[in-house]
């Protein structure tokens, strides 16, 4: 019998430890599993259904409850809800990840520069951010879409811009609290350059709150895309998107609840999965929760 040599806890590297702790977190693993399932279904959309079904109207079969041939049923035009939800998920997920990605990178650049260099750089950048924050983010996104016109990528730009301010603030405060910590001063004392300090000492210590807020905002962004879709901004019918699907069926939800429930459950499950992952990551990144 070969017995796998067991490493003691102290032999793991930082990254391994984070993964180790994350994997022990059952809720977080459930979140990963759930999100993976959603991703898989959305990626396999052409296999499970086809894009034709998204727009094709089977007028004879309108308002069919979920059954063998229409797994999620059909809407008032007789379109297959299953195909619409699958292809809609593609847009919801891709757009929300793109939005968070853009906002995070821009926020990290602005907040990082403001926090680390301080002084005039900080004042100028933060006043711009203040101006962005003074406008409610939904209103800002609506204004940008109105100016740019409808479309998925315009929606992405609009929602990303409206989130930059928030991420800038989070990154800046993470950098600021760490900037004057003694081990940063100590690192300067043994000859670390500014860039090395930011990458090696500030980022690993500040990444926790940034990742957590990014994942929590990811859920919020999926909801924002859907609300914008519901308001008729961004993704417009007949292009499917989870919020848009609910919106276009709103007149018939009382009579045929599955039309709202199914895309609603998709939104809720995805947001929940993302939030579980965010919480799990936060706990895993914190070295003090190590046991």
């Amino acid at each position: 019998m070969f017995k796998r040599k067991k490493k003691s806890l102290s032999e793991y590297s930082m990254g391994e430890l984070v993964m180790f702790r994350f994997r022990k977190n059952k809720l977080a693993m459930f979140g990963v599993f759930l999100l993976a399932a959603v991703f898989l279904a959305v990626l396999l959309a052409p296999v499970l259904s086809s894009y034709d079904n998204v727009v094709q109207m089977h007028v004879k079969d309108r308002f069919t409850s979920p059954n063998g041939s229409y797994i999620f049923g059909t809407d008032e035009f007789g379109r297959d809800l299953f195909a619409r939800v699958l292809y809609g998920g593609r847009i919801s997920l891709l757009a929300s990840f793109a939005i968070i990605g853009i906002a995070l990178v821009m926020g990290a650049l602005i907040g990082g520069a403001a926090g680390y260099f301080g002084g005039r750089v900080d004042s100028v950048l933060m006043r711009v951010v203040d101006m962005l924050m003074a406008v409610p983010s939904t209103l800002l996104a609506m204004a940008i879409i109105t100016a740019l016109g409808n479309g998925v990528w315009k929606l992405v730009v609009a929602l990303a811009v409206s989130q930059i301010a928030r991420f800038s603030r989070i990154v800046r405060s993470a950098v600021l609290t760490l900037r004057n910590v003694e081990f940063i001063e100590a690192a300067q004392c043994y000859g670390c350059s500014s860039l090395r300090i930011i990458v090696k000492h500030i980022l690993p210590n500040g990444i926790g709150p940034i990742i957590v807020s990014a994942t929590l905002n990811l859920g919020q962004t999926i909801l924002s895309i859907s609300s914008m879709g519901y308001l008729g901004l961004g993704v417009a019918s007949p292009t499917p998107e989870w919020g848009t699907i609910i919106s276009e069926n709103k007149a018939n939800i009382q009579a045929y609840p599955y039309l709202g429930l199914i895309p609603g459950i998709c939104i809720a499950l995805t947001v929940m999965a993302v939030n579980f992952i965010g919480d799990g990551l936060r706990d895993a990144f914190d070295p003090r929760t190590k046991n």
């Binding site: 102290s10 032999e11 793991y12 930082m14 301080g118 002084g119 910590v181 003694e182 081990f183 001063e185 100590a186 690192a187 300067q188 004392c189 043994y190 000859g191 670390c192 350059s193 090696k200 000492h201 690993p204 210590n205 070295p287 003090r288 190590k290």
Partner: protein
């Protein structure tokens, strides 16, 4: 003063100001200090006397925008540090001059293992060493400070305060610097650990021939540990000399005498200690005369208007008008 040889560290007329929106704080005023190779000098003074500011000035790490070196010079092995390009300063910090901070709890990065943190100093300053050599050096250094090398994969939170300070010392000395600035290295530790840490610094200092500038407010530590001492008040050196000359307690600056008066003496049966009256002078005010005259029992009229010069006798300097024409101290 004996000026024949070049000292390791020469600070002349250093003036450091903190400029805030409301006021200019004069943290260090016209301060002179010398440190020879292998020498251990104590830098004694109250909180706010400018001791830490002095150490940060040497490393050119004063808080940006606020801290300004308004004048004077700091020479290291005869080279002016205040005009040195930042790239050369980076190479100097940690390799030739290191610093130990007061609080070991916060001076280690919680996200890296202690081994990695000692290793980083080597990575920064000895890129020519192989990975094995560096690892071996880390092990050797940990053994020297009394931490088993098997614990180098542990994180700082798994160590006690005294052990963390040992790690910090290992980081400071792994590059075998010529000068160690120790900023109250034992203040945050309890008394039993204090003695161990000082003993450890002393042993390593002898092994690596490192000069130490020990910043402290504890005269007992100075008497125990240092060769020479400089007493700092309001950003100025008011007295310097060998530990023997200063601790003889025959001829002292009134401020130093006041400090001694605050320590209980085992041989003497005093009912009360004698704290120095008044408070540290406001560092925002520029003094025309002696900075200590408001609190001094021997203050004369001219103390208020004329700043005393440093009167030196056999390497023992006292900046006080009382010692102006005396040849006997």
């Amino acid at each position: 003063m004996e000026e024949s040889k070049v000292s390791l560290l020469e600070i002349d007329a250093l003036t450091v100001e903190y400029r805030t929106d409301d006021a200019i704080v004069h943290a260090v005023n016209d301060l002179d200090l010398r440190l020879d190779k292998g020498e251990t000098r104590g830098l004694v003074g109250e909180t706010g006397a400018g001791k830490t500011t002095l150490a940060l000035s040497v490393l050119r790490l004063l808080p940006e925008r606020v801290g300004h070196i308004a004048g004077g010079s700091i020479r290291y092995e005869g080279r002016e540090l205040l005009q040195m390009p930042e790239a050369e300063m980076l190479a100097l910090r940690g390799k030739r001059i290191s610093m130990i901070f007061q609080d070991p709890m916060t001076s280690l990065n919680p996200t890296h293992t202690v081994g990695d943190q000692i290793l980083e100093v080597l990575n920064l300053h000895f890129p020519e060493m192989t990975k094995q050599q560096k690892e071996a050096k880390v092990d050797e250094m940990m053994t020297l400070v009394g931490i088993p090398p098997s614990r180098k994969t542990d994180f700082p939170h798994q160590f006690s305060g005294g052990m963390k300070q040992r790690i910090v010392i290992a980081m400071a000395l792994v590059a075998e610097p010529e000068l160690l600035l120790a900023d109250e290295p034992t203040t945050a530790l309890d008394v039993t650990i204090q003695a161990q840490i000082l003993e450890l610094i002393r042993n390593l200092k002898n092994q690596f021939h490192t000069a130490v500038l020990l910043i402290t407010h504890d005269l007992g530590v100075v008497a125990e540990f240092c060769d020479t001492v400089s007493v700092v008040y309001a950003g100025r050196v008011v007295e310097y000399g060998t530990v023997e000359a200063v601790f003889e307690k025959k001829n002292n600056h009134p401020y130093t005498a006041g400090l001694f008066g605050c320590i209980p003496d085992l041989k003497d049966d005093q009912p009360r200690l004698h704290p120095i009256a008044g408070r540290m002078s406001d560092p925002r005010v520029v003094h025309e005369g002696c900075c200590f005259c408001d609190r001094c029992d021997h203050a004369m009229e001219r103390c208020k208007t004329v700043a005393p010069a440093m009167h030196v006798h056999k390497g023992h300097g006292i900046a006080c008008h009382l010692f102006e024409n005396r040849e006997d101290f």
